[in-house]
Amino acid sequence: MLLNLYRSLRSYRGFILGSVKREFQSRYRNSLFGALWTVLNPLSMIVVYTVIFSQIMRARLPGVEDGLAYSVYLCAGLLTWGLFSEITLRSQSMFLENANLLKKISFPRICLPVIVLLNAGINFAIILGLFLGFLLITGRLPGMALLALVPLLALQVMFSAGLGMILGVLNVFFRDVGQFFGILLQFWFWLTPIVYPMSILPEGIQRVLALNPLTALMHSYQNVFLYNQWPDWNSLTPVLVIGLLFCVMGLRLFRQRVGEMVDEL
């Protein structure tokens, strides 16, 4: 089955790469500043959070004194969260958005999630590049621990893609899923230590947050960028297990329902 998926992806690689390119182009086709908007969006968010939390509310990271450290902490979480939310949100609507295509043209449906992943990957790569540039300029570039980003990101993409696939298929049959996940994502964001550090929370709530699989992941990113620390791999086991589970469930759901899906669109 996986081999079949791979084969159809291979023979439609032209379509996949073309779609990714076109989506990237079309987003900025009629805009003057083009790709700049990809950067300005998260940048404005970072500025807002930095100003509010670090300047106005005087939030300080324990053990670190300068104000810039908080910005780095924020970016580490915010940028990777952006990748997660883009993949899940786009996957969730990918079948509905392409309803016309699905109904009229016969092509391997598995292309759609792959296109979503590649697009999100490109956007993230741009932002990550800028962030690394910023770290380099301010002399905060972490060392070898940066290599940990590769497995961390792979883990995160797998988790997001599996979840996204489940949501995408379910959303075709039950449109409530899309609405619900939008709300859930809001809560999920604030229940993950991205804007605030875990340590400022009371003990009890910390234990609740530890149940969130993304907490460990965010924690790892923040340690890499802020302290050049390798992640505690054991803490990532839940993400790995849940991520794998999502992928298996997502693929199964996709395979079972892909035919029926067209009838519902």
Partner: protein, 421 residues
């Protein structure tokens, strides 16, 4: 390459009584099915050998599109199997997936990729695509500036850039101007000559009859008929006119052709004859010969108004000439049971050589769709031969008068040609 085999094909849509029942069906293990199946297509079996052209006809909602969608693979069948050999191209929704902000060229690449082609392949085909679409410089303009005809030209050119083994055509072809319609039809014909299997859905009788080897009639999701295009189209036509109390029957004629007769029977056709100048009944006519078509009608019940129509069709069933007494202002009124009416239509036989048939209709008004007393295909079959006139081609003798003027280039204005009487 190019065979299509369909066995026991059926498609049903799931209908859930309410929105929650699907969720219950999904979540409760071993739950009984909570949906009803709504069958739109059932028990379809046919096999199309490579290189054959098949027309699919049927009223709206008969399941034609569903059948095509299943064959192209966009919709999955509920039961049954489809075996296809070779590359399939579908002209179902031309221009689907065109992005308005991209240029025609970019969209052509996109459409090609959607068909599974690689960039290099499309690049190689691009000059040919541009050439066929004939939209000129516009190819590098955004598609939003295109007219729908231009979009359709481009889409058709991309979809047919490579000859497929199986080509599936929906009525989409009726889009575009007459010039491009001809051009695209010619391309389809050339594919067919090269061995492409063709599957066409159309309501256009002449399109089906001129290009197809066989036709399939779908009725309420089932295959009602699979046979020669003329027979199927005649049956379909009769079916369209079918009303309460009407009968449709098909009879095999001596020459092997199938005659379709339908109608309510208040008036019936007694005899049809083709007469020459000496009032002899003939089956062969010379080009240009004055002929009389004589039709005798029996009135079985009192009817207030009667219109007789006849239509001469060529061997492919395409209409050559048709007229009725309504359009001739000769409709009869207040007819009584037991009357016999004899009609005579005199005309010179200005047709090309070949076989022709005459279809007849008896109705109340101009169209046989209102009250159809009788509709009869193959009421008469005759041959036209050409021993006396010049040896022309085509189905119509226009009796061209010729005048030719020769002049040397330097001699200025040519003289006005004299037209021979």
């Amino acid at each position: 390459m190019g065979t299509i085999r369909v066995t026991g094909l059926g498609k049903a849509y799931k209908q859930y009584p309410n929105r929650w029942s699907r969720l219950i069906e999904w979540l409760v293990p071993f739950s009984r099915p909570r949906h009803e199946q709504h069958w739109v297509l059932q028990g379809v079996d046919f096999e199309i050998p490579a290189g054959e052209a098949v027309g699919i006809v049927g009223v709206n909602g008969a399941g034609k599109s569903t059948l095509l969608k299943m064959i192209t693979g966009t919709t999955q069948p509920t039961c049954g199997q489809i075996h296809l050999q070779g590359r399939v191209a579908a002209l179902l929704e031309l221009g689907m997936g065109f992005h308005p902000d991209f240029t025609g060229r970019q969209n052509a690449f996109m459409a090609g990729q959607l068909l599974g082609m690689q960039v290099e392949e499309i690049e190689a085909l691009m000059p040919e695509i541009e050439g066929f679409a004939e939209i000129g410089e516009a190819i590098d303009q955004p598609v939003r500036t295109y007219s729908s005809g231009m979009q359709m030209r481009l889409a058709f050119s991309v979809a047919t850039a490579r000859r497929p083994d199986i080509l599936i055509v929906d009525e989409a072809l009726s889009v575009g101007d007459a010039y491009f319609q001809h051009k695209s039809f010619e391309r389809i014909r050339s594919f067919r000559r090269a061995g492409t299997t063709l599957l066409i859905v159309s309501h256009d009788r002449s399109a089906i009859q001129s290009i197809c080897d066989t036709a399939i009639l779908l009725e309420k999701g089932r295959m009602a008929m699979h046979g020669k295009p003329e027979e199927v189209m005649d049956y379909y036509n009769a079916m369209l006119a079918e009303r309460e109390g009407q009968i449709v029957r098909q009879e095999m004629l001596a020459n092997g052709q199938v005659q379709t007769i339908s109608g309510t029977g208040e008036a019936t056709i007694h005899s049809v004859r083709l007469l020459d100048q000496r009032q002899r009944s003939v089956e062969v006519a010379e080009v240009g010969q004055p002929m009389v078509l004589e039709v005798q009608v029996d009135v079985r019940q009192d009817i207030e108004r009667l219109v007789l129509g006849f239509m001469i069709k060529d061997r492919l069933g395409q209409a050559i000439y048709g007229i009725n007494t309504h359009r001739l202002d000769q409709a009869l009124t207040d007819l009584h049971a037991g009357e016999r009416v004899t009609y005579r239509f005199a005309f010179p036989m200005r047709l090309g050589k070949g076989n022709y048939s005459v279809a007849l209709s008896l109705s109340r008004l101009d169209s046989h769709l209102d009250r159809n007393f009788e509709w009869r295909d193959y009421g008469l079959v005759f041959h036209v031969i050409n021993n006396r006139q010049e040896d022309f081609v085509g189905c119509s003798w226009l009796e061209a008068q010729t005048s030719i003027t020769r002049s040397s280039e330097t001699s200025g204005q040519p003289q006005a040609p004299e037209i021979a009487p």
